[in-house]
């Protein structure tokens, strides 16, 4: 990996006595698309403001492009921000908005005009919009103008503060694709704040999950989804089943043997290897995470899977591409959630007893303690 473009080390941020960030350390590689996700109040926006220079960390260090940034005003940083509410200047035309950073940089008038037109075409905006005011454009078009303004001066890092959050689903989808395309074409590093995990998974190279000022996990979308560090990460991202188990070391190389607390679940050879267990899992109580799509409904007459359980259908939801079932299994507090591919003939009805199975390979063990591995 080449030298990181952003290096944040042990950043604390206090607002009076309230601590918004607890020792956050983060690196972003050149050209990387990093998503910061977490529920509101988790500190992701504070972190973004510190990156942008609107605020300084209370303690800790921040380097961008190898230069110390603490105390450097936003105008002196190689970053540009796309604001949640876009913050287009209502009294300036589209061209004036987009060209504003260049005007401030004292770029020649003709050059500004050329680059504004270039940005317009890159953003698929009509040149006839140049003399319009932002209020005369649609929401999606304003979004593109905001992106164009932040990218015209070719920043090395683009900071995006949930700019898509207010759009309707369809427009959001198309702009997400647009963002991805832009990122690929420009090679700029993107730091994208969002509370929409699906968006983060679709767009980001790496995702950083935050909660209450702590960074819980940084990793690829696969890491975050399939190998979450904690039950919070697991639960924050999509629905999941967490089945209580007892674990114990088994053999070498970090393999673990488990035993279900509930007798209704049986497993042949209940062992997972090192890659199927969070490093924080210790012997004793643990949780087995199974994504709903990993649990299968076994029709009558089909053979059992290596791991199997029986239960009674509690409820089902037809979601279109899939059908979600909630099955109550004896000995488990919460119903087991599973998703089967959508089909014209629904495989089971409410109240029907069903057989469920999953592959041992799909299991992932998490510590039972939700705060395991998170410094207080």
């Amino acid at each position: 990996m080449s030298h990181p473009i952003i290096e944040a080390a042990a950043i604390d941020k206090f607002y009076q006595s309230y601590q918004a960030l607890h020792g956050v350390s983060l690196t972003v590689a050149p050209g990387e698309f990093l998503a910061l996700v977490g529920p509101s109040g988790c500190g992701k926006t504070s972190l973004l403001k510190i990156l942008a220079g609107f605020e300084d960390p209370t303690s800790g260090d921040l380097m961008i492009e190898g230069k110390h940034m603490v105390g450097v005003p936003p105008s002196q940083r190689p970053t540009r921000m796309v604001f949640q509410k876009l913050a287009l200047f209502p009294h300036k035309t589209v061209a004036e908005n987009i060209g504003f950073p260049l005007k401030l940089a004292k770029v020649a008038h003709g050059e500004i005009d050329r680059r504004v037109r270039e940005m317009l075409s890159l953003m698929h905006l009509k040149e006839s919009y140049m003399n319009r005011l932002p209020a005369q454009l649609s929401g999606g078009e304003q979004q593109r103008v905001a992106l164009a303004r932040s990218m015209i001066s070719k920043p090395s890092v683009l900071l995006l503060d949930e700019p898509l959050s207010a759009l309707d689903a369809k427009l959001k989808k198309s702009l997400q694709a647009e963002l991805k395309r832009l990122h690929r074409n420009l090679g700029t590093s993107f730091v994208h704040v969002t509370h929409d995990l699906e968006e983060a998974m679709m767009l980001a190279d790496r995702i950083c999950v935050m909660r209450a000022g702590h960074m819980l996990q940084v990793g690829t979308p696969e890491d975050i989804y399939y190998r979450p560090a904690t039950t919070f990460v697991a639960g924050f991202i999509g629905e999941t089943n967490l089945l209580p188990v007892m674990v114990a070391a088994h053999g070498g190389q970090g393999s673990k043997k488990w035993r279900f607390a509930s007798p209704s679940i049986a497993c042949a050879d209940p062992v997972v290897d090192r890659t199927q267990s969070a490093p924080t899992v210790v012997d004793g109580d643990a949780l087995m995470m199974l994504r709903p799509e990993m649990i299968h409904l076994l029709p009558e007459g089909t053979p059992d899977m290596p791991c199997a359980m029986t239960g009674i259908v509690d409820e089902y939801f037809v979601k279109g591409a899939s059908i979600q079932y909630r099955v109550s299994v004896e000995g488990l507090a919460a119903p087991v959630i599973l998703e089967v591919p959508g089909t014209l003939r629904r495989p089971a009805d409410v109240g029907e007893p069903v057989r469920l199975g999953f592959r041992r390979l799909d299991a992932y063990l998490l510590p039972a303690d939700p705060h395991a591995g998170v410094a207080a």
């Binding site: 936003p74 913050a87 200047f89 005011l133």
Partner: protein
């Protein structure tokens, strides 16, 4: 924002507007019409004579001294507007930004100054600005000769009084439009590479325009009618329109003349506002749309 689409024939609307309409008619339209009618009468020996002619109007348009005073009034009002805006801007800006924590205190102070009787304040200024007054006393303390300034009883003192009494209007209107500016717009300007000064001129000032215009219009209209300041602080030797009207009504007991001069001042005010509206409409175009779903 959606416009209310109500028919003017809606009985509920008519009923709702009726009290205000009646009040306006009784206390504004009727007196104005009476004033207009009065201007066609004559006066003889302190007595009103019902003549129905244009004598008063031909007097108004043939005598230079009325227009000297009207011209002075417009000039003083314009100057007062300029000073109030120039002084009000930094104060409002400071209130909306730097002094955010003291904002309430400052607001209360200004409101108090506002509510204090204008007569009292004006006389306070007389004591302050006089040759032997507090201001000269302070100057003496720092080494100036006694009576270093002679501001009282002149147009300068009138202007000080006018600006002092009318400044709160611009401070408040500008302040209100400044606090309405989305903080993100300021950050966006910083982010784009603007300094604080540049941001003020590129973003804050243009977006505070509605407040500046509103304050300017208020101050201008109120300036046209100032009475105490030229009379008490200005020493009465450079009278403005309100004093001219008072003299006509009261000293000369020439009601028709007073009525005609009143209409002249109203006319000047309306023409000025009309011109201002033309300018403002062109310049504000964009910002009218600001609130209307402009931002996603």
């Amino acid at each position: 924002m959606k416009r209310l689409r109500k028919s003017w024939r809606d009985p509920a609307l008519i009923l709702a507007v009726a009290p205000a309409g009646l009040l306006m008619t009784a206390f504004f339209v009727v007196p104005l019409v009476m004033t207009a009618l009065l201007s066609f009468q004559g006066t003889k020996y302190y007595r009103l004579v019902w003549t129905w002619n244009l004598d008063v109007w031909s007097d108004v348009f043939s005598q230079a001294h009325y227009w000297t005073i009207m011209g002075r009034t417009v000039w003083m009002s314009g100057l007062c507007v300029a000073l109030c805006v120039i002084l009000g801007l930094p104060i409002a800006y400071a209130m909306a930004t730097r002094l955010k924590s003291l904002e309430n205190h400052i607001t209360i102070l200004i409101v108090f100054a506002f509510l204090t009787d204008a007569v009292l304040k004006t006389f306070g200024w007389v004591l302050f600005l006089d040759r032997t007054g507090v201001f000269n006393g302070m100057l003496t303390l720092v080494g100036f000769p006694p009576g270093a300034t002679d501001l009282l009883f002149g147009p300068g003192a009138t202007m000080i009084g006018m600006v002092y009494n009318l400044l709160p209007y611009t401070i408040f209107t500008i302040y209100l439009s400044m606090v309405r500016i989305d903080r993100d717009l300021i950050l966006a300007a910083y982010d784009a590479g603007a300094s604080k000064t540049r941001t003020f001129f590129e973003v804050t000032l243009p977006l505070a325009r509605p407040g500046i215009y509103a304050g300017a219009i208020l101050v201008f209209v109120l300036s046209l009618g100032v009475f105490l300041e030229p009379k008490v602080m200005g020493g009465g030797t450079s009278p403005m329109a309100a004093e001219l009207i008072r003299q006509s009504f009261e000293t000369r007991v020439n009601w028709p003349l007073g009525a005609a001069l009143t209409l002249v001042v109203i006319g000047i005010g309306m023409v000025s506002l009309g011109l201002a509206a033309l300018v403002v409409r062109n310049r504000l175009q964009g910002q009218d749309l600001q609130g209307q779903g402009g931002q996603v």
